[in-house]
């Protein structure tokens, strides 16, 4: 997959502990930058419960060391590193590799 990195924006656009949504091919990808560590995560932007493209607009939280985003629709929580839903273990959403190269945020999809 490393040959299909797509540059989406300047890293300075990301405000710590918030998300943005990028169009990567036909996918809607939510990209989050964690405050403090500056670590990046990319997951599907579509909330599988509300079926709307909104997860980048959710709040970032932490429980027992795991970081997650809470859907802004009905507050289901999705773990940032593997897309697992913490409120329904039957549900997992897509995650994507993400990195910063020369100040540019890149996603592989």
């Amino acid at each position: 997959m490393s040959d299909s990195w797509i540059s989406v924006c300047d890293e300075s656009v990301l405000i710590p502990d918030t998300g943005i949504c990028a169009k990567v091919g036909n996918e809607h990808v939510a990209i989050f930058k964690v405050a403090g560590s500056g670590e990046l995560f990319a997951i599907s932007n579509v909330c599988p419960f509300g079926k709307a493209s909104v997860l980048s607009r959710g709040l970032i939280g932490e429980t027992n060391g795991a970081l997650y985003v809470a859907s802004p629709l009905l507050k289901q929580r999705f773990r940032l590193n593997d897309g697992v839903c913490l409120d329904d273990d039957e549900v997992t959403i897509a995650t994507y590799p993400v990195r910063v190269t020369e100040g540019q945020v890149e996603v592989a999809a």
Partner: protein
């Protein structure tokens, strides 16, 4: 075996209780029940009759329905009065000529209002107060009347006076006895009640015997009194007591008391063992019981006897606690101190208009009775002490003296036995509460909804809290009200830290006083506190990660990820030009348009990139953000008030605008709503709001802590006849006290119910400045008011901020998942099924160019 035939004469509250108890009994299927009522409807709640004037309908008051009776095989014949009994043949006959046989006959004929034999008492506008038909007659009469007189200053009479006041009449109460509520109150209590009621604009005339009702000179009637004075009025309402409806029993030779009432034994049987009498028509031990609770007990006893049980009626406690015209009145046991050798303790507070008296036994050990006017908070403690006969503390006066801070008042709840009744309205004992606590209901709110305690008059709420805390302590439960896993503090404690240590950022607060990374619970909660305290722009980089999406994009997210837009329209006032601008924007962006309950306009379906250009147009036209997205002040609803309305007392629109402009933008623990009504007709529905203001002829009445929504609650009357300045001062203090001390997402109603001491405590804090914090509260509020800025105006002026208003960071394409269908001339989001029917990915609405 054929079923026993039961005939119930009268379908009032007690008759219905009998039927309901019998059909739900395990042996209920052995009976065939028929009931007759001379009224046109089945049983309804006569105790709540006055609610009819505050909007309750006959259906709301109904206690049963025809379907309920049909399903249980109960026959009912309305509008038909039983006029004959043949005891030998065991049949009854009705006015319409029906004959019905019975095995057992139940007389639940109730009572009728006593109308004193005064010449002229039978004129068209001379009425009584007992049935829904009576209320309809009162309403009709009130429309043609300016002044109304209630004859009778007892409990029912004062309720009737309240009803007339609600109908907008000038009200007088005429009482034969030298004081009001002569049965329940002593002289000092009656006098205080009188002065409080007169302060509310009801004129009281005691010691007046009406001799004649003649034509009036200025008004419809003139009442001539025995002392030579007179009073003119347009209508007269007799509420001078009740008489048992014992006509049938008299005619057909059942034993009757000297002063009326059908004589019954402890099993509720009359002198004919196959005939029972229950409720207000029955005379037990030479006493009539004019309250519903003893009637219910009799109904249960009769059912028990019928089905082979051994319950007996043993009299009933007639203690009462109620609010009459907004004045709290309580009476327990021997309120007059008639018991031989009894002693009294009296507490009288002239400044706060409170009177309390304890009547104790000669040996100072047992409580015999009590009188309370102006403050009945001790009722819940005193009644169980009297009923259970427990020993008084060595200094009984502590039971009625005000409690100063930190001092345990009187006897703690610990001293009460389990059978002590805590909630007298719903008959919940201390033991019931403890059982419920052990079953897992460990908050006051849970206890209330599970046991019902505190949901009647609410007077016992503080005691429920005390029982809860005492029991939790005994169980060794550490009460944890931490806001979340990241802070070991309650919201109130965190707010104290923010204020005293002057924190302005979440990160700093978390690293100094919390742990971990924060979450969707603590982040918005802290953001709200910071906003209440410092009122900084919510989209500042350091605050942005804390906000819910609604605050981030200053709109209300809908199910498909688009937003709705609500411009502020203070008090619901809007110019035609303003309406046109809104209409043009809605048309240009194809926004679904709907009016809100708060008197403004909601525009739905705006995508992220459309929000800034829409708001540019709104701001240019003079609109400001309406904060419909925030946990903040939403709207101040108003009626049109005295500027246009024929009935308006004060200018409610101007006051509503003043209040809305004052508190707009204020972040609160949960959303808050207000309303201002220009008169007592209350068209703005202020009593369903967190803060409600109603104009009177002397100023503003302030109501607090109401709410609609999931669990509706009427607001409590907090203060009366305020001038503008005092009104605003109280609201400033109220809001800031709420902001400082409420839990996260706690509406004012629940907050107040959980405050130890409830409404009285709130009055102490806000009116009497009991905590000495009012200056600080006002100072904090003035900072919020002085630093207001329209968030949307500031946002559209900042290009940096506007970058976030796009669906994709790397493309101008809109979200292709959005799809709409047309309904009633506007669009709505397509359902999943409808979406599947759309041709692949085709957009249902045209994209709209960004304007700059």
């Amino acid at each position: 075996m054929s079923k026993q035939k039961i005939v119930v004469v009268g379908n009032g509250m007690v008759g219905h209780k009998f039927i309901d108890t019998l059909v739900n009994d395990t042996k209920g299927d052995q009976y065939e029940i028929t009931t007759f009522s001379e009224e046109p409807r089945l049983a309804y709640d006569r105790v709540q009759l006055s609610a009819y004037f505050s909007g309750s309908t006959a259906e709301d008051l109904a206690m049963t329905t025809p379907q309920y009776y049909d399903e249980r095989g109960v026959r009912y014949l309305l509008n038909d009065k039983v006029t004959g009994i043949d005891k030998a043949a065991k049949t009854i006959t009705t006015e319409k000529g029906d004959v019905e046989s019975y095995d057992k006959l139940i007389l639940a004929t109730g009572s009728y209002p006593f109308v004193p034999p005064i010449p002229g008492n039978d004129q068209p506008h001379c009425l009584v107060y007992r049935t829904i038909e009576d209320l309809e007659a009162m309403t009709a009469s009130a429309k043609q009347s300016r002044i109304g007189v209630v004859v009778g200053g007892g409990l029912l009479g004062l309720e009737a006076a309240n009803a007339l006041k609600n109908l907008g009449l000038e009200v007088h109460v005429v009482e034969f006895a030298p004081r009001l509520m002569a049965v329940q109150l002593d002289e000092a209590g009656g006098n205080l009640l009188r002065s409080k009621i007169e302060a509310l604009g009801v004129q009281v005339h005691t010691g007046k015997a009406t001799q004649n009702i003649v034509d009036g000179q200025d008004n419809r009637y003139r009442m001539e009194f025995a002392d030579g004075t007179h009073l003119e009025t347009d209508m007269i309402l007799f509420s001078a007591g009740i008489r048992p409806q014992d006509e049938l029993a008299r005619q057909f030779d059942l034993d009757i008391g000297e002063r009326g009432g059908i004589v019954i034994n402890n099993e509720c049987q009359t002198s004919d063992p196959d005939i029972y009498a229950i409720g207000e028509c029955a005379l037990w031990n030479n006493r009539i019981f004019g309250l519903v609770a003893p009637g219910y007990s009799m109904a249960k006893v009769a059912v028990s006897h019928l089905t082979g049980g051994d319950d007996t009626f043993e009299g009933a406690d007639m203690s009462t606690k109620l609010k009459l015209l907004g004045v709290e009145v309580g009476s327990i046991g021997d309120a007059h101190g008639n018991t031989q050798g009894s002693l009294s303790y009296v507490y009288s507070n002239g400044a706060e208009q409170i009177y309390k008296r304890l009547i104790v036994s000669a040996d100072n050990k047992k409580l015999l009775g009590a009188v309370m006017v102006g403050d009945t908070s001790d009722y819940g403690t005193l009644l169980p002490i009297m009923l259970t006969g427990m020993d008084l503390p060595s200094n009984p006066e502590t039971l009625i003296l005000p409690v100063s801070d930190g001092e345990a008042g009187g006897m703690g709840v610990d001293a009460l036995p389990d059978e002590a009744q805590i909630c007298s309205c719903l008959d919940v004992t201390k033991g019931d509460l403890i059982e419920s606590i052990h079953a897992g209901n460990q908050t006051v709110a849970d206890l209330k909804s599970c046991t019902g305690a505190g949901t009647g008059c609410g007077g016992c709420a503080a005691m429920v809290g005390q029982v809860l805390n005492a029991e939790l302590e005994k169980m060794g439960v550490e009460v944890n009200n931490n806001i979340c896993a990241h802070f070991d503090y309650s919201r109130q404690e965190l707010f104290d830290i923010v204020r005293t240590k002057k924190y302005t950022s979440f990160q700093q607060l978390l690293s100094d006083h919390g742990q971990g990374h924060g979450c969707e619970i603590c982040k918005p909660a802290v953001a709200s506190m910071l906003a209440t305290q410092w009122n900084e722009y919510v989209l500042k980089d350091e605050h942005l990660p804390l906000q819910d999406t609604n605050d981030v994009f200053l709109g209300n997210m809908q199910k498909d990820g688009t937003y709705s837009i609500v411009p502020r329209m203070a008090a619901g006032e809007v110019t035609p030009e303003g309406l046109i601008v809104i209409g043009e924007i809605a048309r240009d962006y194809n926004l679904y348009t709907k009016l809100t309950g708060g008197q403004r306009i909601d525009l739905f379906g705006a995508q992220l990139h459309e929000l800034p250009p829409i708001w540019k147009r709104l701001v240019d036209a003079g609109f400001e953000t309406g904060h419909a997205y925030g946990k903040s002040l939403r709207t101040v609803k108003s009626c049109v008030g005295s500027t246009w309305c024929r009935y308006g007392m004060l200018d409610s629109v101007s006051m509503a605008i003043l209040l809305e402009m004052r508190y707009k933008g204020m972040r609160t623990p949960h959303k808050v709503k207000m309303a201002v009504s220009g008169c007592t007709r209350e068209c703005a529905e202020a009593q369903s709001k967190d803060v409600g203001v109603i104009a009177t002829d002397k100023g503003w009445n302030l109501y607090l802590c109401g709410n609609g929504g999931m669990r509706p609650r009427h607001a409590d009357l907090f203060a009366t006849d305020l001038d503008d300045e005092t009104l605003i001062k109280y609201i400033d203090r109220f809001y800031m006290f709420y902001c400082h001390t409420a839990d996260r997402l706690q509406r004012t109603s629940v907050w107040m119910e959980n405050l130890e001491g409830g409404l009285d405590y709130l009055k102490d804090v806000i009116i009497n400045d009991k905590l000495g914090i009012c200056d600080n509260l006002e100072e904090d509020m003035s900072r919020v008011i002085d630093t207001y800025e329209c968030e949307w105006k500031k946002t559209i002026e900042s290009p940096e901020r506007l970058k976030r208003f796009a669906h994709f960071i790397n493309s101008d394409a809109p979200d292709e998942n959005l799809a709409y269908v047309e309904e009633r001339g506007q669009r709505r989001p397509a359902s999943e099924a409808e979406k599947r029917g759309f041709p692949g990915g085709e957009q249902a609405i045209p994209a709209i160019e960004l304007v700059d």
